[in-house]
């Protein structure tokens, strides 16, 4: 199929790939740190917090960017159910990218851990010191992280399906860095 599919803006693609690397790293750092009692634990924790905050800042920028640089329309050849799945999974991805760092920040606040970014640079608590709240938010943080990982895998699978099976230009609208798009 020839793809006249327009691409995402350069800034949108930059944000997408930067955040893809950060979020994937974050998921593995999170899983790694809670499974470790070695010196790696404190190294991973000290990366996890500022990286989470960076993702939170970037996702806000990404929301704003989406308003000014709307994504290209999906190809007409996509069946309605597939469009619905694409839309729903993107809403879920955006929601999790926003909520996960906020739940992390909130659970540390509820447990009254200092929220250290670097050295003396701290974030203020966003929730009251409440252990019942912490006991609810802490497992929620893990559960949402697994949901994000599952959604990421679905997203990756869908991208490969578009690129390899359907060959409808959806993958290259985000993945191509060539000056001009050639029909695939």
């Amino acid at each position: 199929m020839s793809a006249q599919q327009p691409r995402f803006s350069t800034f949108s693609r930059l944000l997408h790939w930067l955040m893809a690397v950060m979020i994937l790293a974050m998921l593995f750092i999170g899983i790694g740190m809670v499974a470790s009692v070695s010196e790696r634990y404190q190294v991973l924790v000290s990366i996890h917090k500022p990286l989470g905050v960076a993702i939170l800042v970037l996702v806000v920028i990404r929301f704003l960017n989406r308003l000014f640089n709307p994504p290209p329309a999906l190809p007409d050849t996509m069946p309605p159910l597939m469009r619905l799945a694409a839309k729903a999974s993107h809403i879920l991805l955006y929601a999790l990218m926003l909520i996960l760092p906020l739940v992390g920040w909130g659970m540390l606040s509820a447990a009254r851990y200092p929220i250290v970014l670097f050295g003396a640079l701290h974030l203020p608590p966003i929730l009251p010191h409440d252990l019942a709240l912490y006991a609810w938010l802490r497992p929620l943080h893990t559960d949402l992280a697994y949901l994000l990982f599952a959604t990421f895998l679905a997203h990756l699978g869908a991208a490969l399906f578009h690129g390899l099976i359907r060959q409808d230009g959806v993958l290259s609208s985000m993945a191509s860095w060539r000056g001009t798009i050639r029909g695939n």
Binding site: V37, S38, Q42, R112, Y113, H122, A135
Partner: protein
Amino acid sequence: MPTTVRSLALRLLPKGTEEWRTETINIPVFVVNSAKGFYDQTLASAPNPATGKPDPAKMKAFLAAHPEAFKAMAIIKKAPISSGFADSTFYGLDAFRFVNATGDSVPVRWSLVPLQPFVEEDPANSASADKNYLFDALIAQINAHPLQWRLSVTVGQPGDPTSDATLPWPDDRQQIDAGTVTLDHVSSEATGGCTDVNYDPLVLPSGIEPSDDPLLSARSAVYARSFTLRAGARRDKPPSAITAQDVLAGGKQ
């Protein structure tokens, strides 16, 4: 001889958002120097369900496998036990690093040295069935007058072990008197704020950094996990052995 470790944990809140949490206990060195050592010790000292006591053979095997614990226990046994909380020295045990503005650092350990005169534990007290005698005495003393400790910082020399909490530093190391800790009131576990705080040894202000002591990461990771479990099981927590009424009454008389 009392076998339960006594502890004094502090939460220091300097101006701004920084914080320093430290937990200190009344033994001069720690028994093990690694997470694996602690795990092995916990298994070896677990009571046998049949006798209700630890199995001596398991403890012997543990000490054979962990010579550092054997040496540390000899040091711990030599240190006299105080009659109460107020006249006990409490040790931070793990090494940290004090870092100045230009990034130079020195290894340190700290301890809390009581201003109350030391009186050795009467074996009759620790053998008695009353499990709360230390708390009752503390309440009575603190109602009479504030209790004080000197925060003593020991500065290590190059070559002093920072990664092994079972090894003492030489006695002649520089001691800095870093201030006085004053405790002027007590509250019951039921009404005090301590159970809602994780005394994580890695909650440090800028200028204090962890050393290469592997126990620091292990403690931080394990404390976080148990703090989460405790938070989730809050409703199942048994009432405090010392009630708010006991504190008001000045301890069980």
